[in-house]
Symmetry: C2
């Protein structure tokens, strides 16, 4: 096989990127959040880029995986999973933190990691693999002159629709030296509607998701009602990140059933979700209850979720995302996409895979408009709420090396407080007594 | 995108290939069976080859699909399914037989098509698509200098193991001018063991599948017992193609449970299979009960099958086969591969996809040793029952054009009796009163 596709070098660049003071049920986004930029360089001199979580546990696994990839062709994507397992064992042998091996739960529901359900070694491994897989696909596509979507069997649509991602938020982070923006605070229905209006005007988004679980349910019901009044007939979603009891979830579903496209993760865990789903009368979506393949079987058998919000960072890459789509298609479960703080590399990856999946049933989430910094030379531009699927080779993005160097410098200069995303810790900067709320919160 | 990958021409060549007088519950293989060879030619001058069923219904859909592909890039594989649907509608509009549109059942259990369960338009469409998808993958791999397995994410094994496929058979087809071989008859345990010995000696096969449903169950039990005595500890399988009742199936499972690796399609339909599975004590495999994605949900929910025998001709290609593998992995169902009369193009395709699937749990079936004719220049050679995964560009096979022309000439010269595979009709050449047995037969 063509040795120009052999991986000669892998570069890992942890960075810190600005993030606004967005609120969720765990706390608030930090002023800066860690990401990891993966560069795979082939013997042919082509560089492919990927992006994933940048917290210490992810870095601890990414480093030995990067070493083990040298000499493999970039086409060797099916082997990434076993290579990552081997790297995990090697790292555990050297006593590196966070690469403990095994698939046991690491912790449940604490820190920002709790927003994606139970955290365990398998999830961490898949998230690390996703960054490498995207980098391999980018390098392969650039070498061959093919867009990533063509490597995934070709696009079935030319544009991918995204939805506005509304957050309760403060005007500014507490403390000095934090990044600032001009969005202002949004802490009531009026603020949320104003935010939605700005999103619609600036990007053309036609559907709206509100991150809930921040205020008592009646306040969030009022916010959704205000959105429904302001944007009649447009799809609305509410996502309290599992903060509610079954009873509260059912009550919210009853009160908002006429305007919600779906209700996202109202309650935590498959059992609660199944009990809500049985009586909700509105589809339940999730990026917490079903985030890995082993969680599918029980959740589908119990009809606990009607829409899976895929996320290639969770599921182990773009190819695994397509397999998830096939499973959802087969079992009559809807599909869309989750998003949290990420940059343009990941948005390009999302757009490519979304373009290839026939059963993309809803507009995808996108956190991207909240990110003011990026590591690509030309930021993605939404039109009518959509991104045009790139046809350029690879992902169709170019790394902005000065920007990457500056964000890496920030990571190097950080005293350690920002290198792990911890929304509860960030909240304590404003509310010193804050602890991650027990579930269900309401 | 690189226009050298654009499809400039598609050639369809129906052929008739020699097939021995192999017996099954429906009848006997015809002296010749139809296959369709698909050639996709790119603007870059590269030809990719695929192979699928060649009966009239398949040809009737393949022709308009071939026309509709001109101008598409060979990477456009995700669109093949909607293009085939559109071609089917167009063909139906012109009143072509066998391309009736819709997914309703065409017939159930009659003719050789009954061996793959209920026959409908969706299955036919997927089988046609599979030949085109493999040809596109071959053309893409040849253009890029990459083996097909690399286009599927890379091999996770270097060899794929196959099993011996034993048949009750006559020494020769009835009637004149039929192809002949030196295998002789196998109509009792002794004959089956002798056939197995020759397979083991010639090809190194270590596991054995007996096509059953031909003789009353006690005779087939005796044959499997004889195999177990002759090949102690080696994996054995028995496949009566759904010929048995639930009670008979349970009795056979009880009597052979200590030597069977799995029992394949003992009874017809999900309901019977579920009832057998509940009491069999041995895994049930299938290539009849679960042959398309819509059949999975109920069968898995009822635990009707423990092993799905994939077949890229059934499932719509190599990429769909990988999706099936992901579903089986997710739901804890075993996976292996089915095979019936096919040539070296399809065996190459099977080997490539099998090499990429981590959860290939059993040695794959292979009908290939029974085929004395081929359309490739160098036939595949089993070693220790395995095929080495080709690393040459594309499928790694070369079309033998004189051989293809000769087999096509046979198809052209046929008076129509061989152009549709019909094992019951073939049986009537020997037993004029033969009708396809009702199910369950025993």
């Amino acid at each position: 096989m063509d040795t120009s596709l052999t991986i000669a070098e892998v570069h890992l660049t942890p960075i810190l990127i600005a993030d606004p003071p967005l609120l969720n049920t765990q706390g608030v986004h930090q002023p800066y959040t860690p990401r990891l930029i993966v560069e795979v360089v082939t013997r042919g001199g082509v560089t492919g880029v990927g992006e994933t979580y940048g917290d210490g546990d992810y870095l601890a696994l990414a480093r030995p995986l990067a070493d083990s990839l040298i000499g493999h062709p970039v086409t060797d994507m099916n082997r990434l999973f076993s290579l990552a397992e081997a790297a995990e064992c090697a790292a555990a042998g050297e006593g590196l933190s966070g690469a403990a091996g095994g698939d046991g739960d690491i912790d449940e529901g604490t820190g920002a990691a709790g927003l994606r359900g139970v955290r365990n070694a398998a999830k961490l491994r898949l998230s690390v693999v996703s960054g490498f897989e995207v980098a391999c696909l980018d390098a392969l596509g650039r070498t061959l002159g093919l867009p990533v979507h063509a490597l995934l069997g070709g696009k079935v649509r030319d544009r991918v629709e995204y939805s506005a991602y509304l957050f309760y938020r403060w005007a500014a982070h507490p403390g000095p030296d934090a990044p600032a923006d001009d969005w202002g605070a949004a802490l009531d229905p009026q603020g949320i509607v104003a935010q939605a209006r700005r999103f619609a005007d600036a990007y053309g988004f036609r559907s709206f998701k509100l991150k809930g679980g921040v205020f008592p349910p009646d306040e969030e019901i009022a916010a959704v009602r205000a959105l429904a009044a302001a944007f009649p007939g447009q799809p609305l979603r509410l996502d309290p990140n599992g903060a509610w009891s079954v009873e509260t979830s059912l009550r919210v579903a009853r009160e908002l059933g006429d305007v919600l496209e779906y209700l996202e993760d109202p309650a935590a865990g498959t059992d609660r979700m199944a009990r809500v789903a049985a009586g909700a009368g509105v589809p339940l979506a999730t990026n917490m209850c079903v985030t890995t393949f082993p969680e599918i079987r029980e959740a589908f058998a119990r009809d606990a979720v009607q829409v899976v919000l895929s996320d290639h960072h969770y599921w182990g890459g773009l190819r695994n995302t397509r397999e998830l789509a096939a499973i959802c298609r087969t079992f009559g479960v809807g599909l869309s996409m989750h998003s949290n703080t990420h940059l343009g590399i990941s948005l390009a990856a999302m757009t490519h895979v979304a373009a290839t999946v026939p059963n993309l049933d809803y507009a995808c989430d996108s956190h991207y408009p909240w990110q003011t910094e990026d590591v690509i030379t030309r930021r993605h531009a939404f039109e009518d709420g959509c991104l045009t699927v790139p046809d350029a080779p690879g992902l169709g993005v170019e790394l902005d090396r000065p920007a990457l160097a500056a964000l890496h410098r920030r990571w190097l200069d950080d005293d350690g407080t920002m290198r792990e995303r911890d929304d509860a810790a960030a909240m304590r900067a404003a509310e010193p007594e804050w602890v991650t709320p027990a579930v269900p919160r309401w």
